[in-house]
């Protein structure tokens, strides 16, 4: 007798198990496209068998636990590669913009204007008496100073853009850390009962991966399932149920820095230098290392050129025998020179003050013009080993190499990341074919279990009808 009811009981349990499994299959199919979803399986185990005499009879199955199919080591690798990807991607984008500042394939740039400037002095050397050639010298010099300023302005614009990007990255990072702390709470509460919190863990893994893309973090999970996240070396942004925001602060010099304080309303400390990975790290590298380097090169170029020309020009006498004035108005130091160097106002107003010769009252003396035009081939850059053209051209070559390398490394990293993602999908991804098969499998089990119950029921009726 007990066997019949045991059979019915087994059947009933089996029915429920099939329903549970089918429900999990439904969950998998519904979440097929959810980002970072790991397919879930119901683990069924056999019930404790019962022994009667020589026989141990199995008591059916029960659903033990719903697991997700997930490889945590793969997740860690994905996070690391995502971090690298974020860094390279952000860097390649910003370098692509820096490269356009130096691109003379389509537009006229410094190479063109510097050339015109020196050739104008050669023309002056041909015709030192003429006002026309002096006017040309003034115009080319003016246009040259304007182009120096253009390069300076464009590089600063890129820096400002990067600052904007940083601010929005920081906002998103703060959102992620807030959500992670919420998830921490949920996961702990669920898992304290011994049940794995599959969906929440999937979501938290996704957030950690996204955080890695943005900024370099290190994280660790404790035995109760809480995760603590540290950004950079020392900024703890998630700890248990709490999270701390990173703050993007604009400094007096115009740049945005990333600040942090562990204590509410405490003193903010500038931790920008710690962030060397992820999109934030890439952007900071371009803003602070690459662009600053190019800014100082262009400043150096403007400053040295102005100094050399001035040195020669004051030795000369102008068209009416007056002693030569400074050709360029320039600042005292090289920093910021590219936006401050300008043609002397005296010369802008009166071209006859341009000096071509070293003897007063000798209109055809072109010695000064010759010396100034020879400055183009004078090695005054790079510790007196490069001319101005070589200096600028090497800048262009350098920026081209940097941009090219950044793009190529980014593409290579994309390939690596895609490979890893494919492997992850292969392990944890949902396959419709598989789910369809499982669906049929569990439905058949359901049918069979239902049949089992009917059989048990009929058997019971049979037993009951033994005695009328």
């Amino acid at each position: 007798m007990s066997k019949i009811s045991a059979m019915m009981d087994t059947g009933k349990r089996s029915l429920m198990n099939s329903q549970t499994s089918l429900q999990t299959v439904a969950h998998n199919i519904a979440n097929k496209s959810t980002e970072n979803y790991s397919r879930q399986r119901v683990e069924t185990v056999t019930n404790q068998p019962i022994g009667t005499g020589n026989l141990r009879i199995g008591m059916g199955a029960r659903a033990a636990v719903v697991n997700r199919v997930n490889n945590p080591f793969l997740e860690k690798q994905l996070q690391k590669e995502s971090s690298q990807m974020g860094y390279l991607d952000s860097r390649a984008n910003s370098l692509g913009r820096v490269e356009q500042v130096y691109n003379e394939q389509m537009n006229k740039g410094l190479n063109h204007y510097v050339s015109d400037f020196f050739n104008a002095f050669r023309e002056l050397s041909n015709n030192p008496e003429s006002l026309t050639s002096r006017t040309i010298v003034r115009e080319t010099a003016d246009v040259l100073t304007k182009d120096f300023k253009r390069v300076n302005d464009q590089l600063h614009d890129i820096q400002n853009d990067i600052d904007g990007q940083l601010t929005s990255h920081i906002e998103q990072i703060n959102q992620y850390s807030k959500e992670i702390s919420t998830l921490n709470e949920k996961i702990q509460q669920v898992e304290i009962q011994g049940i794995p919190a599959n969906d929440e863990r999937d979501r938290r893994d996704l957030l950690l991966k996204k955080l890695n893309e943005k900024i370099n973090i290190s994280w660790a999970e404790n035995e109760t399932g809480l995760v603590s996240v540290t950004a950079g070396n020392s900024a703890v942004i998630v700890s248990g149920y709490d999270h701390v925001d990173l703050k993007a602060v604009r400094n007096p010099d115009g740049k945005v820095s990333i600040n942090y304080t562990a204590v509410e309303n405490g003193k903010l400390s500038d931790l920008t230098k710690q962030f060397t990975g992820g999109a934030v790290g890439g952007a900071l590298d371009v803003r602070d290392n690459v662009i600053e380097g190019y800014l100082s090169s262009i400043d150096n170029m403007a400053y040295t050129l102005a100094r050399e020309v001035n040195e020669a020009h004051i030795e000369g006498y102008d068209r009416t025998g007056r002693s030569g004035v400074l050709f360029f108005d320039m600042p005292d130091t090289a920093k910021g020179a590219s936006s401050q160097v300008q043609v002397n106002k005296t010369i802008l107003n009166d071209v006859t003050r341009i000096a071509a010769g070293v003897k007063p009252n000798a209109p055809a003396d072109n010695t000064v013009a010759n010396v100034i035009s020879s400055i183009q081939y004078k090695e005054v850059f790079d510790n007196n080993s490069s001319t101005i053209d070589e200096y600028y051209n090497s800048q262009v070559g350098q920026v081209g190499v940097l941009a090219q390398r950044a793009t190529k490394t980014k593409e290579a990293q994309e390939n690596i990341l895609n490979q890893l993602n494919n492997i992850r999908e292969s392990v944890s991804g949902v396959s419709l074919d598989e789910e369809a098969t499982k669906m049929i499998e569990f439905q058949k089990t359901f049918d069979a279990s239902a049949r089992l119950i009917r059989t048990a029921d009929e058997m019971f009726d049979t037993v009951l009808s033994i005695k009328r």
Binding site: G96, E99, Q100, E104, Q105, N111, H112, S115, D116, F118, N119, R122, E123, S125, N126, N127, E129, S130, E308, E311, A312, E315, V358, K359, N361, A362, P363, A364, D365, N366, T367, V368, N370, V371, S373, S374, Q376, Y377, D389, Y392, N393, V396, G397, V399, G400, A403, Q404, T407, N418, N421, N422, E425, S426, G429, V430, S431, L432, D433, A436, I440
Partner: protein
């Protein structure tokens, strides 16, 4: 290997996007006819192209300078040629009136008038202008070099023209060298230095030198007793060193001798005319050799310009045939990708289950 749906979809997307982006690059190359559109396409080529551009512009500028020097020098040459002819004519006239067999006081007076014409013409030649500039004034090209008395108001500067990256060529001949013969021998005049100052230090030295030289030359000039009139014929040095002769005073003296019927003076002036002619011919040969240098510089600079352009084109222009064939190949790849993608992602088991 277990293949999840997402894997298949993402692979299809990646492959399609890779093909399309290659196609886009090729299309860009075909449209702009340039292989290097931004420095990162080929950094070496981009930097080299810039060097080529600078060289091209400099070469154009040098050609301009050379052409202007050439016309200046050729004009000088032509003027000197006319001057030589005038002097030869003067010599013929002097020869014809040198002894009593062929001339007498009457004919000498008439010839004197003709010599006066030649004198005026020589002054005119000396004061010629090319454009707005006096050709024989040295650095003072806005001042007329000689007055009717033969006094020189220009200076002895050389106008240096840059004919290529490292060298300069003087494109003028100052009037005092050609017409007055100053600085040609041991008369105490100091020349300017030959090398052109190329940087500020050299220029400062040059400035000082020029100052000193000007003062010293003025002293030397002061010591020269420059007196006009028949009696100063004997003051012109007759030594055998190469010295300069004053073309104007020779002509003037000949004229005066003829008008005064001074046979000995006329005979002496034949020698001096010879010296004068030699001086002018010497100057002309200098000009001629400079014209030669200028011409060969023009040729080599133009060739360099052409070579430059060829090199630049090889670096930055796209090879049209290569681009077209790459585009065709890519098209085929793209089509194949799209067809097989359909086959990969469409069928699923659910289609076959009822």
């Amino acid at each position: 290997m277990r293949v999840a749906d997402k894997m298949a979809f993402s692979q299809v997307t990646q492959n399609l996007s890779k093909n399309r982006s290659e196609m886009q690059d090729l299309q860009n190359q075909a449209a702009t006819q340039k292989r290097v559109v931004k420095p990162s396409d080929d950094p070496m080529a981009a930097a080299r192209v810039l060097v080529n551009r600078v060289d091209e512009k400099s070469n154009e500028q040098f050609i301009k300078s050379l052409n202007s020097a050439k016309s200046f020098l050729e004009f000088t040459d032509q003027s000197l040629g006319e001057l030589t002819e005038s002097l030869i004519r003067a010599k013929e006239l002097a020869l014809s009136q040198a002894d009593d067999a062929s001339g007498n006081a009457q004919s000498r007076r008439v010839t004197g008038k003709e010599i006066e014409q030649i004198y005026n013409q020589s002054v005119q030649i000396a004061n010629r202008k090319l454009g707005e500039r006096y050709v024989f004034s040295g650095h003072k090209t806005t001042t007329m070099p000689f007055d009717i008395m033969g006094n020189y108001r220009g200076d002895d500067g050389d106008i240096k023209i840059q004919i290529n990256k490292d060298s300069f060529l003087p494109m003028n001949l100052s009037g005092d060298k050609v017409f007055l013969g100053r600085g040609l021998g041991n008369d105490g005049f100091i020349h300017a230095r030959y090398e052109t100052p190329k940087n500020v230090t050299e220029m400062q030295d040059y400035k000082q030198e020029e100052q000193q030289r000007l003062e010293q030359n003025q002293e030397v000039m002061g010591n020269h007793v420059d007196v006009r009139g028949p009696s100063n014929i004997g003051d012109i040095q007759k030594s055998s060193d190469v010295v300069g002769t004053n073309v104007f005073s020779i002509l003037k003296n000949l004229q005066v001798s003829l008008e005064a019927n001074d046979k000995a003076g006329v005979q002496d002036s034949i020698d001096y005319l010879d010296q004068a002619i030699n001086q002018v011919v010497l100057a002309r040969s200098q000009v001629g050799s400079r014209v030669g240098i200028v011409n060969s510089s023009i040729d080599s600079t133009q060739k360099a310009k052409m070579d430059n352009r060829i090199a630049a084109s090889q670096l930055e222009d796209a090879d049209v045939f290569q681009v077209m064939s790459d585009i065709t190949k890519n098209e085929g790849t793209l089509r194949a990708t799209m067809e097989t993608s359909g086959k990969l992602i469409q069928p699923s088991l659910l289609d076959f289950l009822k």
